[in-house]
């Protein structure tokens, strides 16, 4: 029987909340291959895939798990994601993973790699230091060494040796996935009532645990079903860009709350690994070099990436323009250094263009949305009532 839209969204929701990683366990049982986790925000999943490994995106446990042991590892002024990651490690939920890669995101995630290594010394634990120098001859050479090192370790732990042809094939598979993601994001910009963010979010997030081929099939199916649903009609909501939620993810209830408060989220930072690279990665020539070049030259702007020659906040303004948004929601996790340190610069750029914004914070386990609902609702109303547009 063909899967209906509600059934597909239900399946995606279950996958996105599956912190016990039951789908990953099933995949491992079926294939006997390795599964390696990774923290936000970006890792080159193509390398894992080419080595026969399932890359598994880790985003904590949201509001589905009470954190007890994890809190004993972190002071009150540190964000929530490392606590839930440790909790999941200690309660056995991540046992099916053969290792975890911690990309350079901030000092907390960097040090989490060390805590993890001390707690689970037999598992692979790798810090992926991504370059902040974007010159091919410097940052590029360094990054290539980093990737080769990780590939070597995966091979030593039972993954396939990284071969050029396999990597080229993996790049093709991920290019297809990226194309579908871009297509969905564009469709949402054009008709956010057809692809509500709370729905699109879980469909995208399912890609953190599914094999990429299955995820691409899900995206295709979702695209077709959502577009065909004639019941979905536009409402008088304010079009907003949501920014700041690129690492620790908000609870689904928060996204639903924002939409119910009168906002159409037409652009966001959620699950950035899926759209970190703006375009396709070249499939001709040396595939590893192509991945490196794509990272250096085709990554999105992000608070975790050094803004060298560019102007801070400019890309956010561009996103507002391209999505025809009427305002911006700064929606960052509490104690998130990259997001919160970036915010004044981004806000200044918006002020320069008289683009309205409002800001609030959350934790992945935030359970009360009343205040945020009022704030977002007032913001949306003010846009609809008094905006020059």
């Amino acid at each position: 029987m063909t899967e209906t839209l509600p059934a597909l969204v239900q399946r995606a929701t279950e996958l996105s909340r599956d912190w016990r990683l039951s789908s990953v366990r099933a995949w491992k049982q079926r294939t006997g291959a390795l599964a390696i986790g990774y923290l936000p925000v970006y890792v080159p999943r193509e390398v894992f895939h080419a080595q026969g490994v399932l890359p598994v995106g880790l985003t904590g446990a949201g509001d589905d798990l009470e954190i007890i042991k994890g809190d004993a590892f972190y002071q009150s002024y540190i964000c929530h994601l490392p606590r839930s990651t440790i909790e999941l490690g200690l309660n056995g939920s991540l046992d099916c993973l053969d290792g975890i890669v911690f990309p350079a995101t901030c000092d907390v995630i960097r040090n989490l790699s060390g805590v993890w290594r001390m707690q689970f010394p037999s598992k692979m634990s790798r810090y992926l230091d991504v370059p902040q120098d974007f010159d091919r001859a410097m940052g590029g050479v360094f990054y290539r060494h980093e990737l080769e090192d990780i590939a070597r370790e995966i091979h030593e732990r039972g993954g396939r040796k990284l071969e050029a042809e396999a990597l080229r094939a993996s790049i093709r598979v991920y290019n297809e996935n990226r194309t579908l993601v871009r297509e969905l994001l564009t469709l949402r910009r054009e008709a956010p009532w057809k692809l509500p963010t709370a729905e699109l979010y879980v469909v995208l997030r399912a890609g953190l645990v599914l094999p990429v081929e299955e995820h691409s099939a899900m995206l295709r199916r979702y695209r077709d079903l959502a577009q065909a649903d004639a019941e979905r009609r536009p409402r008088d909501q304010a079009r907003v860009v949501l920014t700041g939620s690129f690492c620790e993810q908000p609870p689904l209830g928060l996204i639903k709350t924002l939409e119910r408060a009168g906002c159409y989220i037409v652009d966001d930072d959620f699950v950035p690994v899926l759209h970190w690279l703006r375009g396709d990665v070249c499939t001709e020539g040396d595939p590893l070099a192509n991945l490196v070049t794509a990272f250096l030259e085709d990554s999105i702007d992000s608070p975790v990436r050094y803004c060298g020659d560019g102007t801070k906040g400019q890309e956010l303004v561009q996103r507002v323009d391209e999505s025809k948004a009427e305002g911006v929601l700064f929606c960052a996790p509490s104690f998130c250094d990259p997001a919160l340190l970036d915010q004044p610069m981004a806000q200044a750029a918006l002020d320069g263009r008289a683009i309205p914004w409002t800001s609030f914070k959350y934790s992945e386990n935030t359970g009360q949305f009343h205040v945020i609902r009022e704030q977002a609702g007032t913001f949306a109303d003010s846009i609809k009532l008094w905006s020059e547009a």
Binding site: A72, F73, Y74, Q75, Y77, I78, P82, A104, T105, C106, D107, V108, R110, N111, L112, S113, G114, V115, R117, M118, Q119, R126, Y127, D129, P131, Q132, D133, D135, A137, M138, G139, V141, F142, H145, E146, P303, V304, Y306, C307, G308, K312, S334, F335, C336, D337, P338, L340, L341, D342, Q343, P344, M345, Q347, A348, K361
Partner: protein, 432 residues
């Protein structure tokens, strides 16, 4: 009845000569910076960890260290108003208070801690070493100044070692990006011989500094290796590494400490010389600056001496053998940057703390966890447990902040410190 008894009155003495001299050096540097517009001297804003002072000095460029400005502002009671101003301007209450203090100072006219206006930077050298916030900090400053910015990305020692790839990456950035930028600002060519001379002087000063820090292995320790050592590392962490003044300072400091050692004297504290050393502590984390002397007194009154600390290694880790090597000028600077304490992985940090506990015969490890510094703080609780399990010695935990006085709760800290010291005393069988 409390197990711990208060230390006998501290013997009143004048400040250490070295402390006075250090203050004079720092003040003279600020005065020189204030005169820069008249003298025509150029300056470079950069950070303490991974600072390349020898290279800057070889171009006759003056370093300006925003963290030093912030901590000095904290010690002089200025940080609260600067932070309040930054928060009013939209900076989150959650983020680093050094950054907010610096932004607030800048927005208040960039008047430095000595009351004189600091010059605007001729170059921002973002030495991204061991702290992610540095990157955001200089992105913020970049918006305020019309000057070039150079990013020096220093990879993290995640595997506890420096690889050839890491060394080559940093060296290439210094050679191909930083040096040309410095040539441009200074208006002169890179002079490697001059740099080598600076590096040779650095090694001399480092040798004496290590001797001084390791003097704490003696009983009683002639120094306090956290509060007191903040003054000792001042010149080498800030603007003076590689200069003749630094060589002279550290030679004189060594003579001073040798004299204290010969006389079996304890460290000088805010209220004079400590007469009885009761507790020997290893300290992890930076101190609080807004109540620095009050904080120090809490330890001194209990007869608690820091015999080793990690904060005194953030600007360079010299006590396990690293010295700047003038024969490999760029490579040695790259290795220096990567070796700074907060650029080391947690297992290595645990290894260092464990070694300190053993080699300095410490009674316990105390962590001062500061809200502002995730580079230090994230993971400290796991480190604490690991050190406890490896050494079997008591560990303690207090919380404060760098320069935000709202996060310094004296009674809370004092309670926790006293409990920790009691725990040590009980472990000794009430011998204290």
């Amino acid at each position: 009845m409390s197990v711990s008894t208060k230390n006998p009155p501290l013997a009143a003495t004048a400040k250490d000569d070295s402390q006075v001299r250090q203050k004079q050096m720092i003040a003279a540097h600020y005065a020189r910076l204030a005169r820069a517009s008249e003298s025509g001297e150029k300056n470079v804003y950069t950070f303490v960890p991974g600072n390349l002072t020898e290279l800057l000095r070889s171009f006759d460029l003056l370093p300006v260290l925003p963290e030093i400005n912030a901590l000095q502002s904290g010690m002089r009671g200025k940080s609260a108003e600067y932070i309040a101003l930054a928060e009013k301007l939209g900076h989150s209450e959650d983020v680093c208070t050094y950054v907010k203090c610096d932004i607030g100072m800048l927005k208040s006219g960039n008047v430095g801690p000595t009351g004189e206006r600091l010059p605007s930077p001729d170059l921002l050298l973002l030495s991204y070493t061991g702290c992610f916030t540095f990157m955001k900090w200089f992105e913020l400053l970049k918006q305020e100044y019309q000057c070039p910015v150079v990013m020096l990305h220093v990879p993290y020692q995640a595997e506890g070692r420096i690889t050839d790839s890491m060394r080559a990456y940093v060296t290439a950035q210094i050679r191909q990006k930083l040096i040309p930028a410095l040539e441009q600002v200074a208006g002169r060519k890179y002079d490697e011989d001059r740099l080598k001379e600076c590096l040779a002087r650095s090694a001399q000063a480092e040798e004496d500094l290590v001797w001084v820090l390791q003097s704490a292995k003696n009983r009683p320790s002639p120094i306090d290796a956290w509060f007191g050592a903040v003054y000792y590392v001042g010149p080498i962490f800030s603007a003076f590494r590689g200069t003749p003044e630094a060589v002279e300072y550290y030679r004189a400091l060594r003579v001073e400490i040798q004299e204290r050692l010969t006389k079996k004297l304890g460290p000088v504290t805010p209220d004079g010389m400590m007469t009885e050393e009761k507790y020997r502590l290893v300290i992890e984390g930076p101190p609080n600056w807004t109540s620095f002397r009050e904080f120090w007194r809490m330890f001194a009154e209990e007869g608690a001496v820091a015999v080793a600390s990690t904060y005194t290694k953030v600007g360079g880790m010299y006590d396990f053998g690293f010295r700047h090597d003038p024969e490999r000028p760029l490579e040695t600077m790259a290795e220096y940057c990567m070796g700074c304490y907060t650029n080391l992985d947690l297992s290595t940090r645990v290894g260092i703390l464990t070694r300190y506990m053993q080699e300095y015969e410490a009674d316990g490890l105390l962590v001062n966890s500061v809200k502002s510094c995730n580079s230090f703080s994230a993971g400290q609780l796991a480190m604490l447990r690991e050190v406890e399990s490896r050494t079997g010695r008591p560990v303690g935990f207090i919380e404060s902040d760098l320069v935000d006085p709202r996060y310094f709760s004296a009674s809370n800290i004092k309670n926790r410190l006293e409990s920790f010291l009691q725990m040590i005393a009980q472990k000794r069988g009430g011998a204290a």
